[in-house]
């Protein structure tokens, strides 16, 4: 069963965040994707964005965040996932400006800010590429019980990276809320993101 009272945040925290959501919710949001509220840590990392700027999880407070691990030399599943998320963002219309797709590279050796910048922007203008040292990326990956492994390379130095396929969704306060698989329906993603983005909605 879903823990009802985990969503009932202490009033003090709400005030501190300046986010008066109309008081404590007595009912959880009718979310369709896997609800991970209270089961995963808040969004937190120290990485570099695709403009070469140092960023932390706190820089994305106020935005609904879709966190996905992948790499640019992944020609199939990563682009498919990002293309689906782009369609979802399009369907959200202007509301999508309140959301960010954070694409974290699990291939620090090849994914430079320039490569990442061109890559994420080919999918969606609200997508951000994040990269860091192998240690920093591993720390973030472990935080969300995610994993990645560089596979043995071929003769000309090419290699693949196996990686967790999950999409982690955080609310505007950086709280982990939802887990989606790449095969999650676009309708469910649009539905749930609407709920998280529409902070003014009455429950």
């Amino acid at each position: 069963m879903k823990p009802r009272h985990l969503l009932c945040l202490p009033l003090l925290l709400l005030l501190a965040a300046g986010m008066l959501l109309g008081g404590c919710r007595s009912e959880p949001l009718p979310l369709r994707l896997t609800d991970i509220s209270g089961h995963m840590p808040d969004l937190d990392f120290k990485l570099t964005d695709d403009n070469g700027k140092a960023v932390t999880g706190a820089d994305y407070r106020g935005k609904v965040v879709l966190l996905y691990f992948g790499y640019t030399h992944c020609p199939d599943v990563c682009p498919l996932t990002l293309a689906h998320l782009h369609v979802v963002m399009q369907r959200l219309g202007p509301l999508a400006d309140g959301a960010r797709i954070l694409f974290v590279s699990v291939d620090p050796a090849r994914d430079t800010p320039a490569v990442m910048h061109a890559y994420v922007n080919a999918f969606d203008k609200r997508a951000v590429g994040l990269m860091g040292s192998a240690r920093a990326v591993e720390a973030l990956s472990k935080r969300y019980r995610s994993a990645f492994t560089r596979e043995p390379g071929n003769a000309d130095g090419g290699y693949e990276v196996s990686h967790s396929s999950a999409i982690y969704i955080f609310d505007r306060d950086g709280k982990a809320r939802l887990l989606a698989t790449p095969s999650a329906s676009q309708d469910d993603l649009v539905h749930d993101l609407h709920l998280l983005l529409d902070t003014g909605a009455t429950p």
Binding site: P75, D76, Y119, S162, S164, T181, S183
Partner: protein, 155 residues
Amino acid sequence: MKPTRWPFLLAGLLLASGAQAAAADHVHASHAWIRVLPGDLPAGAYVTLHNDSAQPAALTGASSAAYAEVMLHHSSTAGGMSRMSMVDTLTVPAHGEAELAPAGYHLMLMKAKTPVKPGDTVPLTLKFSDGSTLVTDFAARPANAVDAGGPHADH
């Protein structure tokens, strides 16, 4: 052509191809497209193959003048992990079809000789295990495309 000449023509074709028709002669390609990624990143190519013969056909790979390397790959997701592996063949069943589609089988195109842009048409030569080949035009689509596009796209 008069109908009476068909048996002779058919016999001639069978003889010419070693008593059995080449796989490529019975395979038809549709929904052929490439997801173009920026820079020199590898791209995925997708196509649906229909086999109208009573014999299965085995796709072993492809080549293209536009790319230095083409590999037949398979993506899989098991236990929440996405993996990609090289495969030797993809069988197109007799009187059936095989789909190369996102998150499954695909041709990985590497090292474009000249930049391929969305809107371009790129011919790929599909290769079958009996040595026969099928040249197919692939439509280059933007990175954020979800399918082959156009009025006949599958959803």
